[in-house]
C-alpha cells in the first residue's frame, strides 16, 4: 500500500484488527478437527499422568521360595529394610523343604527368587535367568544386618555401639521439591508443548494468509483496512487460541499431577509452567509473524510445504535444544530468544535458575520479538499482492509497495 495514502489513519481503522482476530478465533472454534484434536491431547495428558501415577504408587511384591532355618527371619528383615528406605516393596514367602524344591519353584516361575543357606553359615540367592534387583538389595541388606547383629552380640557388644559415630547426614544447599527425574520430564513436556502449539497454530496462521491470497479476497481486505491491521488481527487471534489451548494442556497436567498425589511438587512446577506460558506468548508473537511471512510468500496452499519447512525445522531444533542441552550451554540457551521459551522454564522446573533470571531473558525476547515482527510485517505487506508464484524472502524485500 502506498505510504502516502496511508499517512492519515482515521481512529476507526486502528481497532479493526479486533474484528479480524475475532474471525480467526471463530473459524478455529468451528473447526471440528481442531476441537477433536484438542480433546484427544487433553485426554492423553491426563491418561499418561494417571498411568505413571499408578505405576509409581504400585507396591512391588517379590515372591521368595525359602528353605532352611532362619530364612523367614531374613525375609521379614528385608521387608523392614525396604520400609525404612521408603520403598514400596513387599516380600511373600513360600517356605519349602529343600534346595530341589526351591529350584523347582524358581524354574516354574511361582517364585522370583530362591533363598537358601550356602552351607558355610551364609546365604545364597537363586534366580531363573535374571537377577531381581529388589531381592538382591533388600535380602542382601537383611542378611548383612542380621549377621552383623549376631556377631556383635557374640563379641559382647551391640549394633548401636558398633555403629556409634558412623552416622552421616546429607543436607542439600539448594532445596528442590522436585526430584531431578521429574524435572527433566517437565522440561521435555515444555519442549514438546512448545513444538506442538507453535507448529499447529503457526500452520493455522500461514494457511489463513495463503487462503486469503489464493482466493484473492486479500485485495478486498487490503482496500478496506491497512494490511498491518490484518496481520495484527491474524497474529493476535491465533496467539489467543494457542495460549488458550496451552493453558488447557498445562492445566490438565497440573491437575493430573495433584490428583496422583504429587501436589508437593506443584508449587515449583506451577511456577515454571507460569513462566513457560509467559515466555510462550511473547515468543509465539514473533513466530506468528514468521508464519504469516511463510504464508505470504506462497501463492497456493501447495507452496506452503516449501515456504514453511525452514520454520518447522527451526522450531524442531528449539525443541531438541530444550531437551538435550545441559550445563553452561543450557544456561546460555535460556537467555537466547525463542530457545528461552523452552530452556528457561526447564531450568526453573529443576530449581536450577534463580527467581530473577526469567526477567532479563524475557526482556531480551520482547526486544527480539519486536524486531522480528517489524521485519515480518514488511515482508508480509510486500508479498501479499504478488500472485505470480512462490517468492523468496529476498525477492519479497525487493518488491516495491
Amino acid at each position: 500500500m502506498s505510504e502516502r495514502s496511508n499517512g492519515t489513519h482515521e481512529p476507526a481503522t486502528l481497532g479493526v484488527w479486533l474484528i479480524v482476530a475475532q474471525r480467526e478465533i471463530l473459524v478455529k472454534l468451528r473447526d471440528r478437527n481442531f476441537l477433536i484434536s484438542t480433546g484427544i491431547m487433553i485426554a492423553a495428558i491426563v491418561a499418561s499422568l494417571a498411568v505413571s501415577g499408578f505405576l509409581a504408587d504400585r507396591t512391588t511384591t517379590v515372591t521368595v521360595a525359602a528353605a532352611g532355618p532362619g530364612a523367614a527371619q531374613v525375609i521379614q528383615e528385608a521387608g523392614t529394610v525396604a520400609d525404612a528406605a521408603n520403598k514400596k516393596v513387599s516380600f511373600t514367602t513360600h517356605t519349602v523343604a529343600d534346595e530341589a524344591a526351591v529350584d523347582l519353584q524358581v524354574r516354574a516361575g511361582t517364585a522370583e527368587v530362591g533363598l537358601l543357606p550356602n552351607g558355610s553359615g551364609g546365604w545364597k540367592l537363586v534366580g531363573k535367568n535374571t537377577k531381581n534387583d529388589n531381592a538382591a538389595t533388600y535380602l542382601g541388606a537383611a542378611v548383612q544386618q542380621l549377621t552383623v547383629q549376631r556377631n556383635a552380640v557374640a563379641a559382647g557388644t551391640s549394633m548401636a555401639a558398633l555403629a556409634k559415630g558412623a552416622a552421616v547426614s546429607y543436607s542439600l544447599l539448594e532445596t528442590s521439591a522436585v526430584d531431578p527425574g521429574l524435572a527433566k520430564v517437565v522440561a521435555i513436556v515444555f519442549a514438546i508443548l512448545f513444538y506442538i502449539s507453535s507448529v499447529l497454530f503457526g500452520m493455522a496462521i500461514a494457511q489463513s494468509v495463503v487462503e486469503e491470497k489464493q482466493n484473492r479476497i486479500v485485495e478486498i481486505l487490503a482496500s478496506a483496512i491497512p494490511v498491518r491491521q490484518l496481520l495484527i488481527g491474524k497474529v493476535i487471534g491465533n496467539t489467543i487460541m494457542a495460549l488458550g489451548q496451552l493453558v488447557l494442556f498445562v492445566g490438565a497436567g497440573l491437575i493430573g499431577l495433584s490428583a496422583i498425589g504429587k501436589g508437593a511438587m506443584l508449587g515449583q512446577i506451577a511456577g515454571a509452567a507460569g513462566w513457560f506460558i509467559v515466555f510462550f506468548i511473547v515468543g509465539f508473537l514473533a513466530l506468528a509473524g514468521l508464519w504469516a511471512v511463510a504464508g505470504a510468500l506462497s501463492t497456493r496452499s501447495e507452496d506452503l510445504q516449501s515456504t514453511a519447512t525452514p520454520l518447522t525445522i527451526a522450531i524442531m531444533l528449539v525443541m531438541f535444544l530444550g531437551i538435550f542441552l545441559t550445563g553452561t550451554a543450557r544456561t546460555i540457551a535460556s537467555y537466547v530468544p525463542i530457545v528461552s521459551i523452552v530452556a528457561m522454564p526447564g531450568r526453573l522446573a529443576e530449581g536450577a535458575a534463580s527467581w530473577w533470571e526469567p526477567l532479563p531473558a524475557l526482556v531480551l525476547m520482547v526486544a527480539a520479538t519486536y524486531g522480528i515482527v517489524l521485519v515480518a510485517e514488511k515482508i508480509y505487506r510486500r508479498s501479499l499482492m504478488q500472485t505470480g508464484g512462490r517468492l523468496t524472502i529476498r525477492q519479497a524485500l525487493r518488491v516495491e509497495d
Binding site: E10, R23, N215, R216, E219, S223, A224, D401
Partner: protein, 292 residues
C-alpha cells in the same frame, strides 16, 4: 467526484499505466474498456490503494484520497475472492464490519441483499456450495454492503447469465441514481454501450478516448443506410456519395457532397424507399478505431 490525475505505474521497466487522467462523475455510470493488458485492472487497483502510485494522484472531492475515504469505496476485484468455507452471510457481515458497519446493521443489510439476489435461503450455506453464478452475486453483494460512496467494479458482468446481468445493471442504476460515481470495466462492449453514459477507453496504458458515449459516437464517421425497393447499384455513379458497402437493394453510404434531401429525392424518383437512416458507429467500432 473521483478524479485520476496523471497516474503512472511501472512494473520493472514496463509502464503499465502511463499518464492516465479521467474523472468518474457522480450520478453517472462510467464504462472502462480496453483490451487485455491495457492497464484497466492496474488503474482500478491504484484507485483502491491496493497498488502504490508511481506518479500522479487520485482525488476524491477535490482533495487527495485517503485510506479513510477508500474504506467508503466499494470494490469488486477482477480476480474474485471470498472465503470458500465460510457461510455466505457471515462473510458479508465480516467484510461490512471491516468497513465500519455495525454487526447488527451488517447482518440486516446482508440478509436484504441476499434476498434481492434470490439467495435468501442460502445465507447459512458455505460459499463453495453455491454455483459460480451465485458466488458472483455474493461477490457483488460484498461490494455494495457497506453502502459505498464510490463503486469500482472490475469486470462485474463476466460470468453472469442474462437475468443476473439485468439485476446487476438495475443495482448499478440505483447507485448512480443516488449520486454514486460508478466505474466499471468490461469486455462486453454492447453492454457498456447499453449501460454507460461515460466511456474511458484505455490502450497500452494510455487513455485513447473518453467522453460521453454520444460524443464519442458523434465523433466517428457518420454513415447512412439506404434500403430501396429496387436495385441500389446506381448509387455508385451518383455524385457526392461514397458507397461503403452495398448489397443488392441496400447500401451503406457516406455523404461526400450530396445532401440527404437530394439523395432521398433522387431515390424516390427512381422507385420506392424502404429505409433511410443515420448509422452512428457502435461503441465497438469506436473502440476498434481508437485502439487500432
Amino acid at each position: 467526484m473521483l478524479e485520476l490525475d496523471h497516474l503512472v505505474r511501472r512494473f520493472g521497466d514496463a509502464v503499465a499505466v502511463d499518464d492516465v487522467s479521467f474523472g468518474v462523475t457522480p450520478g453517472v455510470m462510467t464504462g472502462f474498456v480496453g483490451g487485455n493488458g491495457a492497464g484497466k485492472t492496474t488503474t482500478m487497483r491504484m484507485i483502491m490503494g491496493v497498488l502504490a502510485l508511481h506518479g500522479g494522484e487520485v482525488r476524491w472531492n477535490d482533495r487527495p484520497v485517503t485510506a479513510a475515504d477508500r474504506r467508503t469505496f466499494g470494490y469488486m476485484p477482477e480476480e474474485r475472492g471470498l472465503y470458500p468455507k465460510q457461510p455466505v452471510l457471515d462473510q458479508l457481515v465480516y467484510l461490512a464490519r471491516l468497513r465500519g458497519v455495525s454487526a447488527s446493521e451488517a447482518r440486516r443489510r446482508g440478509a436484504e441483499l441476499l434476498e434481492r439476489f434470490d439467495l435468501g435461503g442460502r445465507a447459512k450455506d458455505k460459499l463453495e456450495a453455491l454455483s459460480l453464478g451465485n458466488q458472483q452475486r455474493v461477490q457483488i453483494a460484498a461490494a455494495v454492503i457497506s453502502r459505498p460512496e464510490v463503486l469500482i467494479l472490475d469486470e462485474p458482468f463476466s460470468g453472469l447469465d442474462p437475468a443476473a446481468v439485468d439485476s446487476m445493471a438495475e443495482l448499478l442504476r440505483e447507485y448512480t441514481a443516488q449520486g454514486v460515481p460508478v466505474l466499471f470495466s468490461s469486455h462486453q462492449l454492447d453492454l457498456v454501450e447499453r449501460l454507460c453514459d461515460q466511456l474511458v477507453i484505455l490502450a497500452r496504458g494510455k487513455v485513447v478516448g473518453q467522453g460521453s458515449v454520444e460524443r464519442l459516437r458523434g465523433g466517428g464517421r457518420l454513415l447512412y443506410r439506404l434500403v430501396l425497393g429496387g436495385d441500389a447499384s446506381w448509387l455508385g455513379e451518383y455524385t457526392g456519395v461514397g458507397v461503403v458497402e452495398s448489397n443488392g437493394s441496400s447500401a451503406l453510404l457516406e455523404l461526400t457532397g450530396a445532401s440527404t434531401d437530394d439523395l432521398l429525392a433522387e431515390a424516390l424518383r427512381r422507385g420506392s424507399v424502404r429505409e433511410f437512416a443515420e448509422v452512428r458507429p457502435s461503441v465497438s467500432e469506436i473502440y476498434r478505431e481508437v485502439t487500432a
